[in-house]
């Protein structure tokens, strides 16, 4: 039973929920990171006050958290801006940070753990150095990770601030260099739009923003928050799609920057799952890069499961396999097979072994006073 999707598609429907259904809805929404989003949806629809007290508290509690995260993110954006000001390239925000700063419909109640920025590859070393001076240090001290990121990835290893622990992902492209698709970041930077009157803050133009989000979800294997990301797409498509000429622009742009396939999936699954009003003309457009019918049939089976809430109540026997398959697929799309196999092997086997060895080293260090507390131990209560 997928109550979150039902609530997203038709918020009014929650008026008839029993206590037991509310119980399930709140749990599914929490595991999809959509509680605070639903809070805002119910508010906008004017039905929040009619919700029973107990579920209301959970929506409210999550909203407090989301608001705090947004306040902190605004501050971080300002700090990043100050750090990078002297480089002389405009600061381009991506994903959550962009929705927030540009005040776009996915923003209210949306959680995001990192701030994603895009800079031209030519200044990436400068940017990293400036951020370093302002206290953002690399998080991956493992040599293999550093090499892997710098050689193959579309971003440098995430940077974390020493004092505030906020994380930045500095991208120079939107897909890894080894990926099957080759969007040109130069074109995307050229088309970017300014989103702040007083600061040189930019984000991708509307079509590119949607294409980036679609690529991230359907090509990059980031399915952990699959439903949440699909909601982003739904909100963006509804918002920009108000302008009837937008659909043609979007499809043309997708072909221009080699992202037509992810766009096809985005249009297919937002309309299938979230009832996003997409003109038939766009859905059936000859310009869209559709997979062959059997592939489509197979992908439906995978994505319709992987995009359900990550809660045990919406899993069936095939869900685990579907997620696993999509994970492998995303790696396959990211890099050629001869690179993929060593990488997965390293991830699955070598790294745990290395960590085990290092922990063993740390354990023996403990006796001489080098004690390190794990965050995950219960230690806050008497």
């Amino acid at each position: 039973m997928n109550l979150v999707v039902e609530a997203l598609v038709n918020p009014e429907s929650v008026k008839n929920l029993s206590d037991t259904q509310w119980d399930l809805l709140i749990r599914q929404a929490r595991s999809s990171e959509l509680l605070a989003h639903l809070y805002h949806r119910f508010m906008a629809e004017g039905i929040f006050s009619s919700i029973p007290e107990k579920p209301k508290n959970h929506l409210k509690s999550d909203e407090v958290l989301a608001t705090k995260q947004h306040e902190a993110a605004r501050w971080e954006i300002l700090q990043i801006y100050q750090a990078l000001e002297s480089i002389g390239t405009p600061l381009l925000l991506l994903k959550g940070a962009a929705y927030l700063h540009a005040d776009l419909p996915p923003a209210p109640g949306r959680f995001f753990s990192d701030i994603d920025i895009l800079v031209p590859k030519t200044v990436i070393n400068d940017a990293e150095e400036k951020l370093h001076q302002w206290g953002w240090l690399t998080t991956h001290n493992d040599d293999y990770d550093q090499r892997y990121y710098r050689k193959w990835m579309h971003e440098i290893p995430p940077l974390q601030h020493v004092g505030r622990h906020s994380t930045i992902d500095v991208h120079h492209n939107i897909l890894p260099l080894t990926a099957r698709l080759h969007p040109d970041p130069e074109k995307m930077i050229q088309a970017s739009v300014q989103i702040d009157e007083s600061f040189e803050l930019y984000t991708l133009c509307p079509a590119d923003m949607i294409l980036h989000s679609a690529t991230h979800l359907f090509h990059d294997g980031e399915l952990e928050h699959g439903l949440r990301d699909l909601v982003d797409l739904d909100r963006l498509l509804r918002h920009f799609g108000n302008d009837a000429s937008f659909w043609e622009t979007l499809i043309n742009r997708a072909n221009e920057i080699d992202l037509s396939r992810p766009l096809f999936y985005a249009l297919r699954y937002t309309s299938k799952i979230l009832n996003t009003p997409i003109p038939l003309k766009a859905l059936n457009s000859k310009q869209l890069d559709k997979p062959a019918y059997p592939v489509q049939f197979f992908m439906d089976h995978l994505f319709l499961r992987a995009l359900a809430p990550a809660h045990k109540s919406s899993n069936d026997w095939f869900t685990g396999i579907a997620r696993w398959f999509l994970y492998i697929r995303s790696h396959y799309l990211r890099m050629p097979l001869h690179l993929l196999i060593p990488h997965l092997f390293y991830k699955a086997y070598l790294r745990p072994y290395k960590e085990w060895r290092e922990n063993r080293g740390a354990d023996s260090g403990k006796k001489t006073g080098g004690h390190k507390e794990s965050e995950s131990e219960i230690d806050i209560f008497e």
């Binding site: 705090k68 306040e71 605004r74 501050w75």
Partner: protein, 105 residues
């Protein structure tokens, strides 16, 4: 960090309150320490009376350390036997306020 080097630089510049957040104060008559919540960084500070006077004086137009010195010395907020205000006192306050994101150039 070399405080003297930094203060040299700051004493000639005009300061203003940060535009990135609002200032909320809590003050009671049982002490002269004042609580400040700054929405920009989301931080809460316990501020001395002197620090409060400085921030209060920065409302309105930007001011240099020299302007602040003149303004505070001429007001009745500081007991006369504590005058003149040591220059380092103003500079070090400004230096720390800037690091906390409370004031900007």
């Amino acid at each position: 960090m070399n405080l003297n080097g930094a203060s040299l630089k700051v004493s000639h510049s005009a300061w203003s309150l940060a535009t990135s957040g609002e200032y909320h104060w809590a003050q009671w008559n049982d002490s002269d320490e004042i609580v400040l919540y700054f929405t920009g960084s989301g931080d809460t500070f316990l501020i001395s009376y002197f620090g409060y006077l400085l921030l209060d004086a920065l409302k309105g137009s930007p001011k240099t350390a020299e302007d602040l010195d003149k303004l505070l010395s001429a007001s009745d907020s500081i007991p006369h036997d504590l005058l003149p205000i040591p220059k380092e006192m103003i500079d070090s306050h400004l230096f720390h306020f800037q690091k906390l994101g409370l004031i900007e150039l």
